[in-house]
Amino acid sequence: MARVFNWQIGREMSYWYPEARPKKQFAAIFDTNKCIACQTCTLACKTTWTSGRGQEYMLWNNVETKPYGFYPLGWDVRLMEKLGAQRWDGSRYEGRTLFEAAEAGERVLGWRPEEIDYAHPNVGEDDCTKTIDKGAHYHGFHEAWFYYLARICNHCTYPACLSSCPRASIYKRPEDGIVLIDQGRCRGYQECIKACPYKKTFFNPMTGTSEKCIACYPKIEQGLQPQCFVNCIGKIRMAGFISTPDQARPDNPIDYLVHIRKVALPLYPQLGLEPNVYYIPPRHVPRPYLAQMFGPGVDQAIAACNKSADDPDLSALLALFGSTEWVMPRWKRVGDTVMGLREDGRELVRVPVREPVWILKALDQARGVSRMNIT
C-alpha cells in the first residue's frame, strides 16, 4: 500500500495506489435542510440512465429517510458495526480507515449486500424515532426527528471500489475526477460492490458487469450540472469542482462552502475515501448522530448555517443553488444580487439574494373577490 494524504481526516493514510489527484475534482453540495424526499432526483436519474434490463433495481441516486432508511438495507450501520468504535482527536482521525482495517486477503474492509437488501427502498422509512402525541407540534426542538439524505456516488478521491478491483476496471478521470467502471473491461467479480461503503456500485445481472453513477459526465463535459441536480425541485444541490484546502479559492462556490465557511461536510469521512459530495447537515438532528455521519465539523457547520440569514455572502451563495443548469465555477455578490460566473468571469446567471415576498390580501377589492391563501 502507498501512503497518501487525506485532508478530511487530517493525516496520511494507507491506500492501494499512490496519491494522484485529478486536474479538477467533481464535487457537489447537498443541503439536507431543504430536501423533502420528493424523489424527483431519483426519477431523473432513473429515466436518464437506468431504464435497461438488469438495471430495474438500481438507484444510482436515491433519497432515504434517516435514521431508519437505507438503500441497500443497513448500508452504513452494518459497516460501522464491522469497523467498530473509532476515535477522532479534534479534526484528526485517530481511528482506522477502511483501507487500514482491511482483513487478511482483502484490499478494503467491506461487506456484500444480498439481493433482498435492495428489495424495499423507502418502504416504511418515514417513521419517527418515537410516537408523536396528538396535537404535538414544532416548538423549537425536536425530540423525535428524522431527515432526508440524498445520495449519489461520491466520486471519491480515494475510491474503495477502484482500489478493490483486481482488474483495474475502475478508473478516475484525470480531467474531472469522475469515477467510472470500464464496461468493456469489467468481468463482474463484484469486488467493488463489497468494497464501496456507500454501496453505489451495482451488479447488472443481464450484462454481467457492475455499473455506477457517472456524474452525468456527458453533461459535465459541456459545463452542465447532472440530471439529479437540475431536476431538484427543492434546489438543494450544487455541482462544481473542489480544490484541496491549501488551494481553496473564495470565488469558487464549492471551495467557499466547504473550505472557507466549512458549512458543508463529507459523508462518513472517517472511512478514508475523501468523498466529494458534501452535506450541509440537518440542524435539528442530535449532534452525536451527526458527528458520526459527517465528522467533527458538525457544530461549526450548523452554527454558521443558523446565522446565514444575517450573513450576506452565505445566504447569497445558498440562493445560487438550483438557479441554473450551468456549472458555476465562480460566483460573486454585488449588493442584494448574486451571480454565477464562468471560469473567465462571464456571467451565467443572476438572482436576488432574497426573493421578494408579496403578501396578497384575502379580499381583492379591485375585483371584488376573495382569494384562498393558495391562489
Binding site: R53, E115, G184, Y189, P205, T207
Partner: protein, 316 residues
C-alpha cells in the same frame, strides 16, 4: 552364491498364468465392463480418431483420470483464504488437431443464476501460449509470457440451454412496467430497436457480453499475470457442461496449443470456482502446472483398455 539383499523370486509360470487370466477376462466381452483405467500420474491426452462430444459419453470410462489437487489462490489480493473444492478429476483426449478435457468435481450447490451477491460455478484450463521447457508463472502467466485460458461457467451453460434473456427468467416475480427501447413506434427486433436497446446495455455495446444470450458456454482468454486477463483474438474453443448428482462434469475442447504436436509434452493448470462460496476472479481454487502428454496416433502404449461401448479408434 549371492551377496546382499535380493527380491524374492516370482515364479515365471505364475506370472504368465495371471496374465492369461487377465486377457481372458477382457476377451469375455459383451456384458462384462472393462475395469477402470489406472489413475494417471499426469494429464494424458490419449489418441482417439473421434474425440468424445460430451462429458457424459461412455468413451471417457476408458480414458485415464488424473486427479488435480487444488489449493486456494492466496498469492494476490483479493485472496481466497478458506479452501473449498479440494480436487478436480481430469481426463483428456486428442484427435491430433484438437484436445478435449473432461473436468469433473464435486459441488453440493448448483450456482448458475447471476445476480447481486450471486456467483457462478466455473472452471478453467490454462496452457502456456508457447510450448517450451521454461514455463510462465502458473498464476495467470506473466508479462511477455502469456498463457491461454479457456473458461467455462455455469451461468453461460444455462444461457446456452435456453434460459430467456429477461429479468423474469432470473427473478420470476419481477414486474416491469416499461422499457423505453421496447416502446412504440419501435418495431420489435428492428435495427432501430436493437440500436436503442444497446444504449441501455453499455457492456453489450462494447462487446463485453458477460451474461445474456450466447451459443457457447466457454470463452478463450489470454493472461499475462494477475489482473491482465483479456479476450483472445478468436473464440476457438467449444465446451459443454452438465450437472450431476454430485457436482459438475464439463468438457472443454480447444485446438492443440502452438508448438505442441501429437507425441509432445507440455504443462497445464486448472481453476475451479464455487459460486456458493462467493468465488469469482482471483478468489478461486487452483492448481500449479501439471505435466501433460499428447499421445500420437498408433503409439497408445500404456493406455488402459477401452470400454466395450462408445470408444472410438486408437486400438491397442
Amino acid at each position: 552364491m549371492t551377496t546382499g539383499r535380493t527380491l524374492p523370486d516370482r515364479p515365471a509360470a505364475a506370472g504368465a498364468a495371471l496374465a492369461s487370466l487377465a486377457i481372458g477376462l477382457l476377451a469375455i466381452g459383451g456384458g462384462c465392463a472393462a475395469p477402470p483405467p489406472p489413475a494417471a500420474p499426469e494429464v494424458q491426452a490419449v489418441w482417439r480418431d473421434t474425440i468424445p462430444e460430451g462429458p457424459e459419453e461412455a468413451a471417457w470410462q476408458a480414458i485415464p483420470k488424473y486427479t488435480a489437487d487444488l489449493i486456494p489462490q492466496d498469492l494476490v489480493e483479493p485472496r481466497l483464504l478458506k479452501p473449498s473444492t479440494p480436487r478436480l478429476a481430469v481426463q483428456a483426449a486428442t484427435d491430433g488437431t484438437r484436445v478435449a478435457f473432461r473436468l469433473a468435481w464435486d459441488d453440493a450447490t448448483q450456482d448458475e443464476r447471476p445476480g447481486a451477491a450471486r456467483f457462478t460455478d466455473a472452471c478453467a484450463i490454462q496452457l502456456p501460449q508457447r510450448t517450451a521447457p521454461d514455463l510462465p508463472d502458473p498464476q495467470m502467466g506473466q508479462a511477455g509470457r502469456p498463457v491461454e485460458i479457456t473458461f467455462w461457467r455455469a451461468t453461460w451453460q444455462a444461457a446456452v440451454a435456453g434460459r430467456d434473456d429477461t429479468i423474469r427468467s432470473l427473478y420470476p416475480g419481477a414486474v416491469v412496467d416499461h422499457y423505453p427501447f421496447e416502446a412504440p413506434p419501435l418495431q420489435p427486433g428492428s435495427e432501430a430497436q436493437q440500436a436503442f436497446a444497446t444504449r441501455y446495455a453499455p457492456a453489450a455495446a462494447l462487446g463485453a457480453r458477460r451474461e445474456g444470450p450466447r451459443d457457447r458456454p466457454v470463452e478463450d482468454l489470454i493472461g499475462e499475470g494477475p489482473g491482465t486477463l483479456r479476450p483472445a483474438d478468436k473464440l476457438l474453443s467449444e465446451g459443454t457442461g452438465r450437472r450431476t448428482a454430485k457436482g459438475w462434469e464439463v468438457l472443454i475442447v480447444r485446438p492443440l496449443p502452438n508448438g505442441l504436436a501429437p507425441g509432445g509434452r507440455s504443462q497445464i493448470a486448472f481453476g475451479v470456482w464455487d459460486g456458493a462460496q462467493a468465488e469469482a476472479g482471483a478468489r478461486k481454487m487452483r492448481s500449479g502446472w501439471v505435466p501433460m502428454s499428447i499421445e500420437a496416433r498408433g503409439t497408445q502404449a500404456g493406455i488402459a483398455p477401452r470400454a466395450a461401448a462408445g470408444a472410438q479408434g486408437g486400438g491397442r
